[in-house]
């Protein structure tokens, strides 16, 4: 295992009755990183998190989490690992204060000072009577209090309004990523809220239909993916589209205008490089993309490839 890796995965996979829920994948999450697991519903994000936490057992491969084989994770080690999931059950009959009091003795460290107030959680209300947002806050409070080394968050913002989302993210980052990067908590978060995760994730992994398409640093991804708009003198866009090199996806041609996404940008003067590739271009515009746009472009490419295969 890499010394600085909080999670290291080798050919980890899960098959149920002959169907690959998660194809064998490799992944390294450095300590202190915030990895956004991105993918549409059923892509395998939750399965990957559950495999890493030994909630379900893999059918192949291996993973180490905080230096331990994932399949051995139980009991004591969960004083170092926190998990919050949108569909995780809670002890509904407990009040928020009872939940915290019940958990406190189980952890060597426990710091909930001001936490419930910060999250505006009603101490004496039973969990079953909390709104969805409040429940999620209670779940966050119960893991942030023991200051975990690793936090696994499975769709924690699903169905929450922007205000609550923002509040949770702020509290999460305040409590886990302080000035000292050496003590930063490693976070793996699966989410559909790409705008939100883009704002704080340092790494991103893209899963599609149970396959890991790529995993890399967020800034590198944002740098290498650009949306390009090329205007030609005549209506040749369709011809040029057919000759686009590999790595250019989601192309749309309309008359003299060609629009595509370049996923392999590796030069500083990207517009110059496009001009060199397309000498007939009148105007070339290369724009940065956000995570959501990249996600949609990748989705489009995958669907096109599926159609071709079909």
């Amino acid at each position: 295992m890499t010394a600085a890796a909080a999670i290291e995965v080798r050919q980890l996979g899960k098959t149920i009755r002959g169907t690959a829920i998660l194809a064998p994948l490799d992944l390294v999450v450095p300590s202190g990183a915030i990895l956004a697991l991105v993918g549409h519903n059923g892509a395998g994000k939750s399965t990957l998190i559950k495999l890493l936490l030994n909630i379900v057992q893999p059918t192949g491969g291996e993973a180490s989490v905080l230096g331990m084989p994932s399949t051995s994770l139980r009991g004591e080690v969960f004083t170092r690992i926190g998990y919050v999931s949108e569909d995780q059950e809670m002890p509904e009959w407990m009040t928020v204060a009872e939940l915290m009091a019940h958990l406190r003795p189980m952890y060597p460290r426990w710091n909930d000072e001001g936490l419930l107030e910060e999250l505006e959680l009603p101490r004496e209300r039973e969990i079953r009577h909390l709104s969805r947002g409040m429940r999620m806050k209670a779940a966050f409070a119960s893991v942030l209090a023991f200051e975990p080394e690793l936090l696994m968050l499975d769709e924690p913002f699903s169905g929450l309004d922007p205000a609550v989302r923002g509040e949770l993210v702020r509290t999460l980052l305040d409590r886990t990523h302080t000035e000292d990067p050496a003590n930063a908590t490693t976070i793996v978060i699966s989410s559909h809220d790409l705008d939100e995760v883009e704002s704080f994730a340092t790494h991103v992994a893209f899963l599609q239909d149970g396959r890991l398409l790529f995993a890399q640093r967020m800034d590198a991804l944002l740098t290498r993916c650009r949306e390009v708009t090329v205007t030609f003198e005549s209506e040749v866009a369709a011809n040029v589209r057919a000759k686009l090199p590999e790595g250019c996806v989601a192309a749309e041609a309309e008359g003299a205008m060609l629009r595509f996404v370049d996923l392999r940008v590796n030069v500083e003067d990207h517009e110059g490089a496009i001009r060199a590739l397309m000498p007939d271009a009148l105007q070339v515009q290369s724009e940065a993309m956000n995570l959501k746009e990249i996600f949609l472009a990748l989705n489009k490419r995958e669907r096109a490839e599926e159609r071709q295969r079909a």
Binding site: I55, E76, F78, Y83, E89, M90, H102, P105, M106
Partner: protein, 482 residues
Amino acid sequence: MKQVRLVFWKDVRHLWRHLCVYAALLAAYAWVTPQTWPGGAPSSFLGVFATLLKILLMASQFVLITSAVHADRLVGEQQFWITRPYDWRSLLGAKFLFVVACVALPYVLMQWWLLHVAGLNPLAAKAAMTSSLLRFALVPCLLSMLIASVTDSLAAAFTFLAALLVAWAGLLQFILSGTELRMSPPYEFSGFGAGFGVLLLAILSYQFARRRTMHSRIAIAATLALFLLFIFGYDKQGFGAPVKELIRSHYEVPSNGSLRMVFGPGPVPYEESGKDLQYLHNFVEVKLPIRLEGLPADAKIQSPNVSVVLAANGMRYATPWVNASVSENAIGFPLPKEIFDRVSEMPVALHLELIAEEMRPLVTQRVAAAGRFRGPDDAECSLVGGAAACRYAYQEMVPTHVEAPAQSASCEGQRPGDPAGTWLLLMPPGARVDPVVNESLHLRGPVCAGEALVFTEYGAARRFRLAVDVSGLALRDYRARD
């Protein structure tokens, strides 16, 4: 230990309503049951109510145990606790503590209260109490915990239990049909209890440690199959010669030869010729004029069983050890009807082995009947309206003969003047909800206050084995009367 306490108190807080219902049921049962004992006010309604309470008690025990396990259930992927630092040993320990403290302890206290009301001392029957508690721990408690550990809801647990019971009863009926009269080998309960207790505990521990529900369910089904196999093979001698030999080896041939079996040709006296085993399909009872000679006059034969080998016209048939009846001039045993029909008309060579316990009177105690009086073996007896009854704690395992000598005191009853006697039933230990064993003394009439009753307790069992060979036997002459 800290975590055990933490989880235990969490479960107590969570299930306090269930616990209140359970306590109310125990209290109701403890109030109603004494009224159903002999000597109480006779009421069929109370009897039905007590039975209903008993069923509700058992159901509430199942619900309580299941709910406690399901509070941190093992099946599923969404449970809160599985990504928390719960140690499985502590979790299992907490659930055991809950079962002991919140299910078993109140139950035992209720039983002690009943014994107290009956005038019995529970500590005087420690062995029986231990046996009763072990059975309670093994069957309702451990089994309920195991079922709860592989299900995710109360409905699923009830369904699993029902399926288990139906499968169990069906298979038992299928496998054990025709083996009802076979004797059980030694160490049957202790061996089965220990063996399967350990197996069930192992499955429970495995499920708590690994949460591999499908594996555990398969293991439960396999244990059930193994249990049935052992019941058939060992308990019912389905494994044949080895078990038969094991049983035989526990009985000794009397060394001095004073005790022997003698076949006396001629018919079996009518009053000893028994009744045909109509209630058992495909069996007839054979009553042979065989008497035991050399048996002391005051000895009692206990648990007689025979093994019979028949040979006729090239055909040979051997029975396993089966329950037998031994009277003054006859020994009776069951024989498959098919075999009987095949050999009844031809001369048969018969080899019969008898194994039994010879018991001798140990203690004779004369007791004057009164409203309440103390019987032997810590029995609490009573006399109400001429009907005498004795109570025992948990069980009555000592064969006891009760005799009312020729009536001397005058009372209103019409019991004949000659002595009247009765045997107290032997009550094996069991996981009964009501620990008070009530035995009415049937003495052919009322017992008067002040009348002397003679209790004779038998003991000092001596196991013996005897054999007899008879040739040219016509079995048709020895079928028990219809």
